[in-house]
């Protein structure tokens, strides 16, 4: 069996064999449920269905980013903490395969998590007037945004053996990517547009919220994912030297 799939399958199983997986899903459903009721549905009765769904994806993008940091925190940190990384290191598996396998398990878990929230837009789909495409685009955006944050989290997790430190490092990197937008706003051209386009959320996620899929946004998130995983692989390789 392919080493990547083998590692991914084991890791995905461990989300559900420990409490972590259930806690993350429960926390996101609770938080998103409250936010959906408070902001998306709101008190006014005259909202348009598409606004409700847009609000749902807006709050959900925040939940996804926070959840992704916690989903990825243990990927590599726990392996080092428990010494099991030595098992992977001494097996005929490339370091890149370890990283990708770990990442895929986290991505699969995120997909399950996102699927669990789908009853909220489904209710709007049934009771209101929105297109399937809008919901699909929103979820594609969430998955891409989540994938980028998971890759950054994988890198954070590779840098330390403590899961708490891993969360802190990953959160700092994600916040830095988010605030690029603000840096772009206060800097001059041509730097301003560089920073604005580097921002994790503002320019690249908002179209998905309204049901628009731009190729450049998809590529942006895939590129961030690639860079994160590439960095994590390099960190893992470097660890063999000390």
């Amino acid at each position: 069996m392919n080493a990547i799939l083998l590692i991914a399958r084991r890791e995905l199983g461990s989300y559900f064999r420990t409490w972590l997986g259930y806690i993350i899903i429960a926390a996101v459903l609770l938080l998103q449920g409250i936010l959906f009721n408070a902001f998306a549905l709101g008190s006014g009765m005259d909202r348009r269905s598409s606004d409700v769904v847009m609000q749902f994806f807006y709050t959900m993008s925040g939940c996804t980013m926070v959840a992704a940091i916690f989903i990825s925190m243990r990927l590599l940190a726990a392996e080092r903490e428990g010494g099991t990384v030595n098992l992977l290191y001494s097996s005929p598996v490339r370091d890149g395969e370890i990283v990708v396998g770990k990442f895929l398990s986290a991505l699969a878990f995120l997909a399950i998590l996102l699927f669990a929230t789908s009853f909220m837009p489904a209710m709007v789909l049934l009771a209101g007037k929105i297109s399937w495409g809008h919901v699909f685009a929103g979820y594609l955006g969430l998955l891409l945004l989540g994938s980028a944050v998971l890759a950054v989290g994988t890198l954070g997790s590779a840098l330390t053996r403590s899961q708490i430190l891993s969360v802190i490092i990953s959160a700092l990197m994600v916040v830095a990517l988010l605030t690029c937008w603000w840096v772009g706003r206060v800097s001059d051209r041509p730097l301003s547009s560089v920073f604005e386009n580097l921002a994790l959320w503002q320019i690249h996620f908002q179209p998905f919220m309204s049901g628009i899929v731009h190729t450049r946004d998809v590529i942006f998130y895939l590129a961030i994912t690639y860079v994160g995983l590439f960095g994590a692989t390099r960190v893992l390789e470097a660890r063999r030297w000390r």
Partner: protein, 309 residues
């Protein structure tokens, strides 16, 4: 079949191992003996393909570890100092995972898992969660994972550390039962244990090999000692022993208020009859005669002390 040439590993400025060279023949059981921090773990981690060396050459079955690490990894099983176990998995599930990871063909995985579970007496634990196992069982699962893909070379880093005496005896028996099926390289800082299990010893100290061979080989040329307990003052006994041919020195270990003395005589253990005869002739009552400590222990102390001097 395992050739190590000039192996060196630096951690920053500090050399954990320096210019290590040795060869191991197929089927040998080799013991790495050294104090904590001597470089045993580092050497085994390099051979286990976990760490990359700073310099030197390692070839396992003629395959270079640096240029073809993948091929080497298929042929080795490594048990690090802490067994690499996933606590949330069952013993059977874990071993299956390791077998697949190490490339055991899908149709042979179950048979291999069953085989190592029988060898390590883990059959009853197949469905238990790893997190519920005692230390002794964890160590056994660690050994089982190292041999689940039937590697030619088994590398075991302190396989008996933290075990109680009964478990140590079981582990020793288990390792000896594997002789002939695998080439085994194990480390320890406990002398009697390693001399009973291994065909050949490599004594490592401060990152260098200071002696190698069987316990017998290592004992050659190293003076051993005799412990004696006598009645009376040590001075009289010392004087009597001074005249015995082959006695290189006498050290007073303890003299008690009850009028007895413990002496350590530096001489070959074969000289015991002469030593006793000399004492009796000098009218000294001998209460006890023993070979000093373990042979290996004195060899080890001597090998490491000469380096300090």
């Amino acid at each position: 079949m395992i050739e190590v040439e000039g192996l060196t590993k630096y951690y920053g400025e500090h050399a954990a191992i320096r210019d290590l060279s040795f060869t191991i023949q197929k089927g040998e059981v080799i013991g790495f003996l050294g104090l904590n921090g001597a470089g045993k773990s580092t050497t085994l981690r390099v051979l286990g393909c976990v760490l990359l060396p700073t310099g030197g050459k390692v070839r396992i079955h003629g395959i270079d570890l640096l240029t073809e690490p993948h091929e080497v990894r298929k042929r080795i099983g490594f048990l690090p100092d802490v067994p690499p176990l996933y606590n949330e998995m069952s013993v059977g599930g874990y071993l299956r995972f390791v077998a697949q990871l190490r490339g055991v063909p899908a149709d042979k995985v179950d048979a291999r898992v069953q085989d190592v579970e029988e060898k390590t007496a883990l059959r009853d634990m197949h469905d238990e969660l790893v997190s519920t196992l005692s230390h002794g069982y964890r160590q056994r699962v660690g050994l089982a994972q190292a041999m689940v893909h039937n590697p030619q070379l088994l590398i075991l880093d302190e396989p008996t550390s933290g075990l109680d005496p009964v478990q140590i005896a079981e582990m020793r028996k288990l390792i000896r039962s594997l002789r002939g099926q695998h080439t085994i390289l194990l480390s320890s800082h406990i002398l009697p244990e390693i001399s009973q299990t291994c065909d050949r010893l490599l004594v490592i100290h401060e990152g260098e090999i200071v002696g190698q061979g069987s316990e017998h080989d290592l004992a050659k040329g190293s003076a051993s000692a005799i412990d004696i307990e006598v009645a009376g003052t040590p001075e009289k006994a010392k004087a009597a022993l001074g005249g015995v041919n082959g006695v290189q020195g006498v050290e007073v270990l303890k003299s008690t208020a009850e009028g007895t003395a413990h002496l350590r005589v530096t001489a070959s253990a074969e000289l015991r009859p002469e030593v006793v005869r000399a004492l009796v002739n000098a009218n000294v009552d001998v209460l006890r005669v023993d070979k000093a400590a373990s042979q290996l222990e004195s060899i080890f102390m001597q090998l490491t002390q000469t380096r300090h001097a």
